[in-house]
Symmetry: C2
Subunit: 154 residues, 2 copies
């Protein structure tokens, strides 16, 4: 199955970049992952910046993609429940499963309009860098649960 | 205010150790933190292991400490709500605020019995290493919110 993770802005913290690279590599056992940190644009108006960032992300998405938007108002799942969602996504006939972590100031409405589902990782607010690592780790965990492989028991 | 974070077992992943060290250092701006990774004991019986690990943690806790147990069945807070809890804990007259992340196989009943509160970081299951980093980052975020300092807006 083909996946994508689109985020805004370069990962700042080197130790988190290391973790992100580790899970990107681990995920190659289970799927092809298009991972992209889209160059952030700094505009003085947050609403315009949100809109521009949304456009840059939406330009990469095709109509046959299933889009999962990471959002604090989304559904909170246990890791087991996430693995069941992943299974459903994979069965849905979508060309790709596209995960989107927004930039600062939250998502523009156009991303909510395009998203097929919203997913919440926690009620906590994480740094953008950390949320990338946490999401990749959970996707890896979900896929290892689906394959009944030992990672998730460790 | 004095805090403690007790966990079981050495942090395995070097990049997470780096992140943990960064937040331990950042937290020195706000509090004194007794951070200890208690040496894990391997017993063939999970229940005995849970009991032993709980005992090793409880030996470090005094009766005037407020004990917050990290547990998936605990209360989920937003980062702002956590900062309000932190404020309450600090006002409670406790000698220390002691955060406890258990070992594998979950907590022994004796830890539930001693805990003043249970806190859930997410419905997701995190690795033990990652949950340390996430908790320290959230505690730092909570304290920066209480001081109205800019970190949490970044």
């Amino acid at each position: 199955m083909r996946y994508a993770l689109y985020t805004i802005g370069k990962t700042q913290e080197k130790y988190l970049q290391t973790g992100i690279d580790i899970y990107r590599k681990k995920l190659t056992h289970y799927c092809q992952l298009d991972y992209e940190e889209i160059k952030a644009k700094k505009l003085s108006d947050p609403q315009q910046q949100r809109e521009l960032h949304a456009k840059l992300i939406l330009d990469k998405i095709e109509s046959s993609d299933k889009v999962i938007l990471l959002d604090e108002r989304g559904s909170p799942y246990t890791s087991l429940e996430l693995s069941q969602r992943v299974d459903k996504w994979q069965m849905s006939g979508a060309r790709r499963i596209v995960l989107v972590i927004g930039g600062p100031y939250g998502h523009h409405q156009s991303l909510y309009d395009r998203a097929d589902e919203q997913l919440s990782m926690s009620k906590f607010t994480f740094t953008h860098d950390m949320s990338r690592l946490i999401l990749l780790e959970q996707m890896y965990r979900a896929m290892s649960i689906l394959r009944n492989e030992p990672y998730h028991n460790s």
